[in-house]
């Protein structure tokens, strides 16, 4: 008996060791790729394989970032873009969920709205940018509206579908207790679709960044999108690439935060 249990636990140790090893290999490769990319970029730029004026170099980008961070100017741009993106993201998601709930509350209304939703979903939302600016002015309100607009229709459609996919027997049980439609929504439909809502959050993070950056391209005097356009106009491509690097970093952080939130919410609900 004793030797057998020992082998069992040994096998388990072996399994855990292999798991850790696999993880280490993957992280090593990920780092290697990053270093190779940055290194190659630097070398290519120094040896004029690529035009350093156009493609800059990692050392240049780092320098721009450090000097702009030091005088606080970059921080301001980051703050503004982050604020606009988070606001657009939250507004787009919330309004989408509210729209979906309204559609669910009346099947006739949802049928009436169907073709309009299809058109609005197919429409490239950024094309509405100029109209937003005319309507809402050239301030950050337009940019937030852009960040929200780009995700609101797809959120509505995805969540409305999720509402309709909830097993109708949950409603049947509640109706046998005499639940009103609102009670059915509150007790069954809404909580059952929470995971679907959280997965739309992940999609919306990316969409809001697109909306906000395009919005900043069009009107802004501040923000990372503005810096990209400005850098392009004055031919400072180090500035353009620094802004891009910052956008990549913050978008990734936001995505990770939402992912953490997802894990937390789903665990507490089950």
């Amino acid at each position: 008996m004793a030797p057998e249990t020992k082998t069992d636990s040994q096998l388990f140790q072996q399994y855990k060791y292999n798991l850790k090893r696999e993880k280490r290999i993957i992280i090593t490769w990920q780092l290697a790729l990053l270093i190779a990319f940055v290194g190659l970029w630097e070398i290519a730029s120094r040896l004029y394989w690529i035009d350093p004026l156009l493609f800059s170099s990692p050392s240049e980008v780092t320098q721009v970032l450090i000097s702009n961070m030091a005088d606080g100017s970059m921080l301001k741009h980051i703050q503004i873009t982050l604020f606009e993106t988070i606001a657009g993201f939250i507004i787009g998601t919330l309004v989408g969920i509210i729209f979906a709930s309204v559609l669910w509350s009346s099947s006739r209304f949802s049928k009436i709205m169907d073709p309009y939703l299809v058109i609005m979903n197919a429409m490239p939302k950024v094309a509405l940018g100029p109209i937003l600016i005319v309507a809402l002015g050239t301030g950050y309100v337009s940019i937030i509206a852009m960040g929200a607009l780009i995700s609101v229709i797809i959120t509505t459609l995805v969540i409305y579908n999720a509402f309709n996919e909830v097993d109708p027997n949950y409603e049947k049980v509640l109706r046998s207790f005499g639940a009103t439609r609102w009670q059915q929504f509150k007790e069954a439909i809404f909580p059952a679709t929470l995971p679907a809502m959280i997965s739309t959050l992940k999609v919306n993070v990316g969409l809001s960044w697109v909306g906000v950056i395009v919005g900043e391209f069009l009107v802004a005097k501040q923000g990372l999108g503005y810096l990209i356009i400005y850098g392009f106009q004055v031919f400072d491509f180090s500035l353009v690439l620094s802004s891009l690097v910052l956008i990549a970093i913050f978008a990734a952080i936001m995505y990770k935060v939402v992912e953490k939130l997802e894990g937390r919410l789903i665990r507490s609900k089950t």
Binding site: D167, N169, Y170, K172, V173, L174, R175, S176, F177, G178, A179, Q183, E187, A188, P191, A192, L194, K269, T270
Partner: protein
């Protein structure tokens, strides 16, 4: 005399390009405290009939009366149990059980004690704070039974509540449901396609045929069988006799539809 009366009920399902006559001219009446079974092949309209009684589906014609009054779904006179437990996975067992009082906005403090007592009675102790996923199928169906009984419904509708369980659990649960309902003197309608289950649990058996759904024959379960718990019924000599008669009736009807 009659507690529940179903009088010439007909139901059609209308689809875009066709319609289906799910029930044709169903009439039956059930006494207070009686346990009846609806037995028939799948698609003969058993679930439809239960939904009509519950007031969830509106029938095309005919009348359904409980104590001579039409049933409204908001009356909380109906208890419904389905094939699956349909416990809400995001609610604890106690929250699941208390969903009925919550919907009726009842703030009777005694109801919580009653819920605990009922859970104990069906053999579920110390799981109030657990979530449904940690329970076995049989335990979950017992929670669903408590959820239904807590509202003190006048009539229980059981739509194949044991068919998703393994055989042993099913037999045990049949006994539990049968004795609990007898103890509370509840009127109940059990839908099943299992002849043995119908005989073991019911006082009367309505055999149904399909296309359109109609009642083809009614069997009275002998008094000796009715007094026994379902598990012992299956071992009674009269059980096999009735089983064979019901079997024959079902075979007969199946033969007809195949022609």
């Amino acid at each position: 005399m009659s507690f529940l009366t179903i009088d010439h009920v007909t139901h059609h399902y209308f689809l875009a390009n066709s319609y289906k006559k799910a029930l044709k001219d169903i009439s039956l009446s059930i006494k207070q405290g009686e346990f009846v079974a609806l037995l028939g092949p799948s698609g003969c309209g058993k679930s439809t009939l239960l939904s009509i009684i519950a007031g969830i589906v509106k029938h095309t014609s005919g009348e359904v009366l409980l104590e001579n009054k039409p049933i409204k779904p908001t009356d909380k006179t109906i208890g419904y149990m389905l094939q699956q437990d349909y416990l809400f996975p995001w609610k604890t067992i106690m929250e699941n059980v208390m969903i009925g009082p919550k919907i009726h906005k009842s703030n009777d403090p005694a109801i919580l004690t009653k819920a605990e007592t009922l859970l104990n009675q069906v053999g579920l102790t110390g799981i109030s704070e657990a979530y449904p996923e940690s329970l076995s199928g049989g335990m979950r169906q017992r929670v669903a039974l408590v959820r239904t009984l807590l509202n003190n419904p006048k009539i229980l509708l059981l739509d194949e509540p044991f068919s998703a369980l393994d055989y042993q659990t099913k037999l045990k649960l049949e006994d539990l449901v049968s004795t609990t309902l007898k103890a509370f003197n509840k009127t109940a309608i059990l839908v099943t396609h299992d002849i043995g289950e119908a005989i073991a649990m019911a006082d009367r058996i309505f055999v149904m045929e399909a296309n359109p759904g109609m009642i083809s024959k009614v069997f009275e379960v002998p008094i000796e069988l009715r007094q026994e718990a379902p598990f012992s019924v299956r071992k009674h000599p009269k059980y096999q006799v009735l089983f064979d008669k019901v079997w024959e009736e079902l075979e007969d009807k199946e033969g007809k539809t195949e022609e």
